[in-house]
Symmetry: C2
Subunit: 354 residues, 2 copies
């Protein structure tokens, strides 16, 4: 199985000589979620989780990065650059290494999750932390992106969204050539909801699917710029991957909502954590906290009677839980107990009868 560009080649504007930089991204599982479906209390609901954490660098970013880095390579770039504290930097560093391009990462000071940064470090990116915030880091990137041979791979690069469309194609293929009735997705920078909607529309236009889903996007309450209708100066949520106060693809998200008859809403950190715990302990799926916003959104929408009986729902889980072990330990329900290696005592503790 090749990567997403090769598999969906007719949906990309490339010729036969186009140099594809791939890590065989995509082809992630669509996992049925009976416990979630049951918890919604909506009769006949079928819920499927698109587990994007199983991409090569652990997030959906790889779908867009394969195309952005391939284009950089095609255009003769020697360097790629991005501002990021997380999944984007990991993906850029991996595809940069694969393409034999130098990857430059500009980080805002003190906002670096060490776990995610570990990826960029081992992939061998050049990392500069600036004494400033994310917006300043992005300003630096815009200026350095004008240097000879440097390509910007932040989401201001339109090839990123082009590549991410393939997530929608895969969902439809995995559902047997059908779109879901509802598509739930976390919203941070809003590029992914924009990309999925473009993907569904492209597949529909090509005759691969006969209907379109309603798009339901969920921001975190503390960074819900689109829901509140204005930029959030100091966005706050434990779901760091969607902690964005001024989404770059704001208009794309609103278009997806309006054209599909969907909704952009927000969920609280408590709702996100509850969904994160439910996913792991009832479905066996370990995602990033931000990923669980889609499932938290589904629970909220069902409680508001916004989801029809007997529907097919997909929820995108954007990143791998292993990116953020600290939150797993913080919100895990198990406790570790230390005992001597005495089977009887351990059996008693565990409620087993020997």
């Amino acid at each position: 199985m090749s990567g997403v560009i090769e598999r969906y080649r007719s949906f990309f504007d490339i010729n036969a000589q186009f140099p594809i930089v791939t890590l065989n991204e995509g082809n992630t599982p669509l996992i049925q979620a009976p416990a979630i479906a049951s918890k919604t209390n909506v009769p006949g609901l079928q819920v499927f989780l698109k587990f994007e954490g199983l991409n090569p660098t652990g997030s959906f970013k790889d779908r867009g990065m394969t195309y952005a880095v391939s284009q950089a390579k095609a255009q003769g770039a020697t360097h790629i650059i991005c501002a990021s504290t997380g999944n984007t930097s990991a993906s850029a560093a991996a595809y940069g290494a694969r393409a034999q391009l130098k990857t430059l990462i500009i980080l805002p000071e003190g906002k670096v999750a060490l776990g995610k940064l570990s990826q960029a470090i081992l992939y061998g990116a050049d990392i500069v932390e600036i004494t400033g915030n994310f917006d300043q880091a992005l300003d630096v990137v815009r200026i350095l992106g004008k240097a000879q041979g440097v390509a910007i791979v932040n989401s201001i690069n339109p090839f990123r969204i082009e590549g991410q469309k393939t997530g929608a194609f895969e969902v439809c293929d995995q559902l047997g050539g059908k779109a879901p009735d509802y598509h739930f997705i976390p919203v941070g920078n809003a590029g992914n909801i924009t990309a999925y909607w473009l993907g569904y529309k492209a597949y529909h236009a090509a005759g691969r699917i006969q209907s379109l889903p309603k798009m339901f996007g969920y921001e975190a309450e503390g960074s819900a710029a689109i829901v509140k209708g204005h930029k959030i100066e100091n966005p706050e949520t434990l779901a760091t991957a969607i902690r964005i106060g001024n989404p770059a693809s704001w208009q794309g998200a609103e278009a997806a909502r309006d054209e599909s008859g969907g909704k952009i809403d927000c969920v609280t950190d408590d709702e996100i954590v509850a969904a994160y715990q439910f996913l792991a302990s009832k479905e066996g799926i370990f995602c990033e906290p931000a990923s669980a916003a889609s499932v938290a959104g589904l629970f909220k929408a069902c409680s508001q009677n916004l989801v029809a009986q007997n529907s097919v729902v997909t929820c995108v889980l954007t990143g791998n839980g292993l990116k953020d072990p600290d939150n797993a330990i913080r919100f895990g329900k198990s406790e570790k107990i230390t005992l001597p290696p005495d089977p009887q005592q351990i059996a008693t503790h565990l409620g087993l009868t020997l």
Copy 2:
């Protein structure tokens, strides 16, 4: 795409009513590795990496766990139990949650990598740390496994190896219905090399492939029981996932070697780290240190002229690098530097001309 049992159903001894507990494991990418091939200096060599870190819980263990937990469910178990400090416990806890069984994990004291344990914690397993070593933990498991309703899912459970055979099936399918000429794989408890060899033989017997690979297994030098021909009392290697001094499937590994005309050898921690760095910085693939033993082994075997020109080689990468961020940071080649948000100063540092 369903999980490995459904996809390879005819290779499992089950009936139509068998309850399959799955997270859509398997179907992991086989990624071509041109930089590794080039570095071997073997003319015409084609190298493919089977990236098992993209299984649902981040390691190859999921292939066996789906079958072991399904069998436990079929037999009416209420609990599953295992001794582990890492990938096995994460996989057991996930499939246990999925199956609505209680998962019990017995850990040796002080050998717990917090990152890996984060998975078991969020999946909701009951975790008991004992004041003793791994062997004592396994002894406890053997005794508690006799309690009513408890199924042991350590690798002493033969269903684990049955499930892991599917890795070989997928490699052959991904190579277009052919076996590789050489199969390189890390060896710790030796269950995986045993399983791959059984898988290749089963596919060959079924007429799905026309040849068999030579099996090359690599232990870490500090825990190379099979190579040295005796148990290692205090195994040591930074590749913790293969730090095992008395492999449970010792005989299976030797059979794979002897029947295939292959080799069991060992690599040093330095060789493992070098391969781990090379994989990330030249191929863009972030695996666990233990996983890199297969690639370190390939480099060693090629330097010994054990690999023929124009061959097809597969190397299994057993686990996701995100399981072990500490080693990525420790062995990463990048350094983070802090600068003011001054584009000119940053450009100069990065060697760019504005």
